[in-house]
Amino acid sequence: MTPDRDFDGFFVESYPGVARALYLALGSSEEAEDAAQEAFARAFRKWDSVAQMERPGTWVFVVAVREGRRVRQKRSRELFAARAGRDEIDPAEHVTLSHDLERALGGLSSRQRFAVVLRFYADLTNPQIARIMKCREGTVKATIHAALGRLRAAHLDEQIGEPNG
């Protein structure tokens, strides 16, 4: 890959996939696109070095996931503050996934949900997820194990098997 690689081509090729993964992990198109846009804006600002990477799409995906987790934490704090102030919050405001899938994923913590999406949608291995989420591989295994346990406990996913990664 050369530094002259066209950013527009990279953007058109990579943006939808990154945004979709974030959409699943966050359950909100608004938050997903906020995070994805910020990641691609950073990629553009650093395009001289990102373009030289063997897989710039991976770089922007990692940045986007981390940005997505940051956006989610920020929104959670805002929601908490709004509730503390007795503002009316519509829980469905940020939920646009199908009802069943959202029910399945909605019982997971943010961390568990990201891990499940990265594992079962993005098909990443546990070591790869560990690096993206900046934690140990054992933590990823435990997180996914706990997530699947929650899904089972909710009687939504009685036959989900353990990942092999």
Partner: protein, 421 residues
Amino acid sequence: MDERQLREALTDAASRYEPDVRSARRFVAMHQERPSPRGSTRRTWGAALLAGVLVVGVAVFAFVVLGDTSDDAPTSASVGTGPSAPVGTANLSDLNFFDASNGLALDKQCVAPGASDASCELQVVATSDGGTTWTPVSEPLHVGYPGWRGYPFVQFATNGKDGWIYGNRTFATHDGGNTFVEEDLGGTVVSLSMGPESTWMVVNPCAPAQQCASSVYTTPTVGGTATPLTGAPQLQSFSVELLRPSRDHALLSASGSGALSVTVDAGRTWVSRTMPPLCGQLHHVSAVTPQDVFVVCSNASPTRAQDKELYTSDDDGASWSLVSTSGNGGSLPEEGLVALFVAVSPDQLWMSFNRGPLIGSQDGGATWASAMIPELDATDDTDVHSVQQLTFSNASRGWAVVPPDLYRTTDGITWKRVGGA
């Protein structure tokens, strides 16, 4: 719902969601340039010719660098106007530390739209706490690179007072980065080495693909006119490295070609050295003293792995000894292409790669161990971090730029993250 069904449900949900690509592209376009920290309007380069001095066939023009908000001004500039909000480490490059606490660096953000000229926002930032926090020294410089469609070459070297932002365009400062004056040496400054009295620059007059011969110039570090070192070898390469381990001693090398020349009389005469016979390609040279010169040779493999050999010389490169290799059980890793190599002392060496760990040696290169920087220690394709710069203020204090983070060692062995993006 089993694991397969969970995958299918996620894939199905994702496929039914159509991201708003157009809006996203507009957002990215709007954020191509950071707003000025002072909220000023978009700045471009406003130039006023201050002086032009013809020196031995080389035109050296100095441009007064003035702040300008007009869009049609060809150049613009920066005058220090006081402290600004701290900046993160995400875009830091070219760290220059003068002791354990104080340093200057360049916050560099360049864009190369392809259809139009490249441009950069360059801001000198300072730290007084060893790199934990960085604050702008002055307003950012907005530099255009007319006719340059790729990403421009931009580097920064300083001793704290005098310094140069050099590369495709070159600017000098003699007040710690508060103001800069453009210097035109007739080409791209591809390497620069500052000494207490003089600063040497390697200038290539052509674009990289044209393979023109480079020239070496010397200029007083405190400011003055540049004059050519007429006896210096003219290397036909853009990848030229100039090292000056002492006032009168220098090594000039061209990566890939194997060319290495040495001067011991401040550049008046130069001697060409022969590289070790098994050296595939010369890639990196580092010298602590004229008696402690190291070179890293490697093959030109564009793949993930690369044969590597480390040689040392105690006689200015006249003879070489093999220290370590990557093959046959050698102590250097086969994985990764060597990106940086620094000899901090005759015993302490550091090496980084396009992927994979930062490794260090405490025994002159015989054995190597990972610096244990977590983001670098993975080697699969999801790990896209790499060390962009290594710099040391002494044998025990060093800094590693691993975007978006900055790492520091205070014992020459272990590294910890400082500051944040």
